[in-house]
Symmetry: C2
Subunit: 162 residues, 2 copies
DNA sequence: CTTTAAAATGTAATATTATAACATTTCATT
DNA sequence: AATGAAATGTTATAATATTACATTTTAAAG
């Protein structure tokens, strides 16, 4: 890949093709470890989600996927998404019915997803303290916490200028 | 309403018919203040949501609503839900595509919704500190925070026993 | 190797959730 | 009573997601 292409792909100071490669490598590792199969379809779906950092809908993914297989059906995408979510490689953004690749799938993490209302870019930052706080709070209310849906909507640094 | 009926309706130590009445009264007050119309339909929809503390789907509400108007259509429910959500009387639980009545609509609040995976009962507890924490965290990441989706899944006190 | 059972995929249909577009009615204010 | 905005009625359809069952692929056992 040339520098020129690299330049085009750079978003927010990061080298995007490395970012995709990394995600796919992590996926291989995770599947190897858990003895799960990262099939061609699953790999392709993950790759498509990784193409950028925007939250992407299942049917949008389907359209993209049809460049690989023109006859693909919704259930193919949903199956892959389920698989990828189960092992933490993809997160669903519940408030948008959309999906993003997890960039920290290799390490266990408790994060908040920051979603830009303008450009739809989404990224995670650590929120371990928030998890602990909320789990403690809920236990005080006699609630047994299991998992958290945590999505912060706002404007990313690029879109604030506009 | 007799004591017997009261007893049946009591859930988690609280007197449920008072809880509905309160919600409807608050609704009246909020609408009066904001010069908005709490029409018959909107009031009925709110009442139905208040019937219990479970997260309720739009089409489930539609079924209930048809006891008032057998010809009601989905859009009627969605319009009322939109109205009620806009003024903070109803919250959407994004991770369930379901809705609950807000029991603290009169005061401004920043809360987390605790959702029982077993019985679907949902209730809010204050999480002001969490909001402040997350907003600060996100600003450090150069993100301009606007609103938070915050839903904690687990088991309520009743369902932990089972 | 071949058999076999589980996992993955193919295929069709359909369920669930939500909105768009435009006509009509209701309501508060003139 | 006239008027314009808000609410509702009505029809259709968009967008999201799952079920059910047939077929193929795969890993592992015999």
């Amino acid at each position: 890949m040339t520098d020129k292409i690299d330049n085009k792909l750079v978003q927010g100071k990061h080298n995007h093709h490395r970012c995709i490669d990394h995600a796919l490598q992590v996926a291989e590792q995770v599947c190897l470890k858990k003895k799960l199969r990262l099939t061609k379809i699953r790999r392709q779906v993950l790759q498509l989600i990784c193409e950028n950092h925007k939250a992407v809908g299942a049917y949008e993914l389907l359209d993209l996927f049809r460049e690989f297989d023109p006859n693909a059906k919704p259930v193919t995408i949903y199956r892959s998404l389920d698989f990828l979510m189960d092992i933490g490689l993809v997160h669903k953004i519940e408030s948008q019915n959309a999906f993003i690749a997890c960039l920290q799938a290799e390490k266990q993490h408790k994060s908040v997803i920051l979603i830009c209302g303008q450009c739809k870019n989404a990224f995670e930052i650590d929120a371990t303290a928030v998890y602990e706080n909320l789990f403690a709070l809920s236990k005080q209310a006699q609630f047994e916490p299991q998992y958290l849906t945590l999505e912060l909507h706002g404007l990313c640094v690029n879109c604030q200028k506009v």
